[in-house]
């Protein structure tokens, strides 16, 4: 009897360890990491309306950062990527989860709501999906964009602005789930669209006992590429 218990224990150990190993290797469930909490903010959108992080609860939000005076190709590429994603959103099946896109200007002294509105129209932004935002108190912006979204920008002494292009994907709970800082092997728009699908799957399927599998995927770092 005692031996039976011992064998039972060993078998259980092998199943648990082997199962965990197989789960990590074959990754039947993939998730996006819970990177950290997205920052809180209160901004003004291109229509002069208040836009806070709380308004974006319950939906996926994709943030990008730019300034309208930028004539660098990287800024044009940022808007271009957002536009590609915007055009694919309608065809994307995310269940009932709405998606928002917010572009925050890092040049709030110059980029007033009127200028942002003109910029939105010139790039072809669909106001149903894509908003532009500026901040009333520019001294707070560094804490939101640099401290919260960890996106680097700096106003140089000669008046130029240095900006590292970045996209940040935030889920409905206000948690950052994706950061896209540099060109990886696949294009940013493809990755972001794919990641939105992965995130929507987790939100929809992670109920009841299936949520254990999703938590295990987080624990074993089974992150979607």
């Amino acid at each position: 009897m005692k031996r039976l218990l011992l064998y039972g224990f060993y078998t259980l150990m092998i199943v648990v360890v082997g199962g965990a190993f197989a789960f990590k290797v074959f990754q039947p469930v993939q998730v996006l990491p819970r990177v950290r909490l997205a920052p809180g903010f209160s901004m003004i959108n291109e229509n002069g309306e208040r836009l806070t992080n709380e308004d974006l609860r319950g939906q996926f939000t994709l943030y990008s950062f730019t300034y309208t005076r930028c004539d660098d190709p990287t800024c044009l590429a940022l808007d271009e990527t957002m536009l590609v994603i915007q055009d694919q959103l309608a065809a994307l099946d995310l269940g009932d989860i709405p998606v928002s896109m917010v572009t925050i200007t890092v040049d709030p002294e110059y980029d007033t709501p009127e200028i942002l509105l003109a910029h939105a129209e010139s790039v072809g932004a669909d106001p149903d999906y894509w908003q532009f935002a500026t901040i009333a108190d520019p001294s707070l912006l560094k804490y939101v964009v640099g401290g919260g979204f960890e996106t680097y920008y700096e106003h140089m002494d000669d008046g130029r602005i240095r900006l590292d292009p970045a996209f940040v994907l935030v889920d409905g709970w206000g948690i950052i789930r994706g950061e896209y800082r540099y060109q990886t092997l696949s294009s940013d728009s493809d990755r972001i669209i794919r990641h939105m699908g992965v995130l929507a799957e987790e939100v929809q399927n992670s109920v009841g006992s299936a949520s254990i599998a999703y938590e295990a995927a987080h624990y074993f770092l089974c992150y979607a590429p």
């Binding site: 640099g146 401290g147 680097y152 800082r181 540099y182 990886t184």
Partner: protein, 162 residues
């Protein structure tokens, strides 16, 4: 042949089996405690980049320290190559939380920042990322810990906290 005889295990062997299982438990506990209680970080591959273009496009084309929040939060993009780190001198203020993004444009390197818990493999095509907070003023060398050719021994840089 009785059941007992068929399963006979020498007492010495039995003790060794117990010891090896006990060691596994000790190691698993140590890893868990190190990870969750002491905050040891495993440098997971953050992302993949193209090593052929990494030195000319994106943040490593202009490597160095970037200030996210003045005096508080920084990120450092460091490019490893034979046989130097770009940049090889970094200065941060006391209390700064610095996230290192390191990649290589040629062969495999290492990045160990002395007297911190940062020690990463730098693999071409892969970005290694770790964060550390500098609470004390001082000088930390970062050295290449992976043999990368003739001048591997002189591949190092200096981070000053002041």
């Amino acid at each position: 042949m009785t059941d007992k005889q068929s399963m006979h295990i020498d007492p010495y062997e039995k003790n060794w089996i117990r010891l090896s299982i006990g060691l596994l438990v000790v190691f698993a506990t140590a890893v868990t405690v190190a990870g969750f209680a002491f905050g040891f970080q495993v440098p997971t591959p953050e992302d993949r980049v193209d090593p052929r273009t990494v030195a000319t496009e994106g943040p490593w084309a202009d490597p160095g320290l970037r200030e996210l929040v003045p005096g508080k939060k920084y990120e450092a993009y460091i490019l490893a190559q034979t046989w130097a780190f770009l940049p090889n001198e970094i200065t941060v203020p006391v209390g700064a939380e610095v996230t290192f993004y390191v990649t290589s444009k040629d062969v495999q390197h290492g990045f160990k920042l002395q007297d911190t818990n940062i020690n990463m493999q730098i693999v071409p095509g892969q970005v290694s990322k770790l964060t550390v907070t500098f609470d004390e003023p001082g000088v930390h060398n970062f050295i290449c810990t992976e043999y990368c050719g003739a001048a591997h021994a002189i591949m190092f840089g200096t981070l000053t906290v002041e």
